[in-house]
Amino acid sequence: MGHILLGGRVGTRKIRMLVISRKTDQAIRIGDTIQIQVVGIGKGKVRLGIVAPSDIPVYREELYQDLVAGNKTSLVTSPEMIESVKKAFTARLSR
């Protein structure tokens, strides 16, 4: 049950990555308040039970990545985009 530590950064904070193996019903604990338990293991699929305080949001990673991608495409990067938004609302409001 080894683990690998990988150095990395998110923003200005240093992060690490811990890789471990777990069997059904075994769990890991993050800090004092978060517990992640392997509830079941199936074909290419693992079911996790996450116990976390209600002030810590838990998201599916792909949803979070959708949001990151959405935000990146929402960045206004050209004067044409500015004009498009202005025009859309001007047209609407002048109705």
């Binding site: 200005t12 002030d55 998201y59 960045l75």
Partner: protein, 148 residues
Amino acid sequence: MLIETLYFGPMEVEPEKLILFPWGLPGFEEYKRFILLEEEGFLWLQSADSSEVVFALCDPFLYFRNYEIDIPTADCGSLAIIDHENVIVLSMMNVLSPTEIGVNLLAPLVINCQLRMGKQVILENSAYRVRHILQLDNHPEDAGVPAF
């Protein structure tokens, strides 16, 4: 304080007009201070730290009649929200083509106006998506969220 903006030129802004996003926005975590610039019918969210970081926002309730959100407990806690007063909700827009604008109803920006602190909140268990098309041909009041 003077804020550089790429498209609107330099702007003198009162420091108390800044809105802090302590966690940044997903994908833009390093930008934490923003100002809201009002236009007719929508707003610009301009970073106070980089002229090149600017987003277009709108009031989703104005353009999507059936829109409703339940702000997760975790996020209410983070933003010290205790009731609906002093809370504003805005959605990020995305220019898909010169005539088509997408609106992110899945992850609205929730701002505690009293604390001037905001966060992009993910409505994980909702049926909303990152991109809903703003119906430009409709009157604002006719634009409902499509049925799911």
